[in-house]
Amino acid sequence: MKMEININPRLRLSPLVWILLTLMGIALVVALIRYIDGIGAISNLSYSYPWGFWISFDLFTGVAIGSGAFVMAAIVYIFELREFQPLLRPSVLTGFLGYIMVVIALLVDLGHPERIWYMMIHMNGTSVLLEIGICVMSYLTVLAIEFSPVLFEGLKWQRAAHTMHKYIMPFVILGVVLSTLHQSSLGSLLLIQPAKLYPLWWTPILPVLFFISAVSIGLAMIIFESTLSARYFHRGLEIHLLAKLARAIPIVLAIYLIVRFAQLAMQGDLQYLFNSGLMSILFWTEIMVGALLPLVLFSFKQVRQSANGLLAGAVILLAGMILNRFDVSWFAVRHPDPLTFIPSLMAFNAHYIPSLPELSISVGIFSAGILAFGLAAKYLPLFEKDEGHQPTGPR
């Protein structure tokens, strides 16, 4: 017998959406278990590894790939390169969603998520983490303001949208300052671990390196999301704009490489470059994939002017730079393991591999982000050219 199933067309969802919803559901259940039974019930975090996959992926990577928003805002509003306007909205949205995802992940990772606002009443001025917390909270507000005109236009509140456009400049400048601070401070977080972070990564100028690489990641993210949006939301690709953006990437990466190697040389750490086993391999992989290869690729006009070339270059850069974030916050950090009673485990050889439920939290949050971007692309004027509302400069 054949069953006749009538589904309301509004409820018919594509398989991709079902998959995303399922992943979100799994993460929700795992998070509930974490809140009831503790972080140890779902993760492999330990006394030796207080920070693991969540910090490397959700915080370090999440914040890094949100850097497209401030790079684009600076290009369009501060340097008034208005031709890049069509790329602004998607990158601000990616940043906005990215930072919301960071905060949600932190609410799982923090021992006392209900106390996150204590950062605003018990401030310890010497703590890098406090600076990051305050900057991320403030920047999330700025991103909401920067994104609000899109929402207002979607709701047909033209006057509200117009007012926001008019007064947006101070918020853009505040946003760029906050981004500079916390993008670099993510590097400063590790400054307190000179005894734990491998010398190929630990340097007093970690914040500078983090900022320079965040700019390159921002540019690559704009290329990445624009080419993907063009494919999946069937919109035109502003390839001439992306080609111009891509021209900046080799310059940024060259500065990054020079600063990085000059610092290693000045610190006298060049000796570790080739004889540190796994650490040397990680170092050279991230340098080759994250900086050298994209530097060469984006130097070719043919690569910059083809959609596939742009996408490939951006993906390679992102992979290498994300590896850098993982190295600094996890792979290259050697923790002592004092609570293990077994002899010989003391010598910096504690191990950590994230558990499946731990990964599922990050996957679920990431799925929610993709879904939210898709919904926004569908229902908000994300890709429309807003010629009626050119940004007004400072007066």
Partner: protein, 264 residues
Amino acid sequence: MSDIQNIKHKVFLFDATRCIDCRACMIACSVENKIEMNKTRIWVSGVGLTGEYPNLDRATMVYHCMHCEAPDCLSACPVGAYSKRADGPVLYDPSKCIGCRYCMNACPFGVPHFDYDKGIIQGAFIDKCTMCPQRIDAGLEPACVATCPTDALMFGERADLIKEAHDRIAAHPGRYINHVYGETENGGTSYLILSHVPFSELGLPDLGSTPVRNVSEAVMELTIPFALAWGAVLTGTAVGVHQFNQRKERLAEAEAKEKSEETK
């Protein structure tokens, strides 16, 4: 260095050659501080047997909080849950803690530990050795010291115990490594260690006399001046670019006007 010499309060002295691995200190600590059965504030680790029969040797290390003069946990904690008492103890206030575990990352000795087995209702906190301030205030030694049967753990004025440590090294130069760990490490600690095996074998990190926290604190001090300067630079750039563009537009307009008038 002179600051390190001027530390005037009570500290621990642990002598690895005297420790017999009885772990009575752990029990005394847990009873005194009402620690759960499956947790501990003191942990004892051995490097196992070394050498060949009949010249066997073994070393045991008793780990406390080092109660640093310049505590890195205190510097790292975003909400100021840590404090340093003038008479030595580094204390933790659970009522402020947000559970970020940055102190665990910051501590070069891996001392603070976290309740991974507690949910949000029971409350998951950091725990660490407190130097028994309740006993110090009552004129007593910390529980672990009071119970140690071999005087491997001692408690007293810092200057006295440093002298005692160096006297022991001088009296038995063949027995001890010629160094008192904690005398200058990380800016000086309140837990001094004497050992007959290299300190790295006891799991102790190789630290200089400059506190680990100094670099990150120096960077943090630059933050607000940098933010103000950067904001000013960006505002200046934005205003400059805007005016340059407007002038260019006006010039272009004027030129266009001229041209159109010429054609007329």
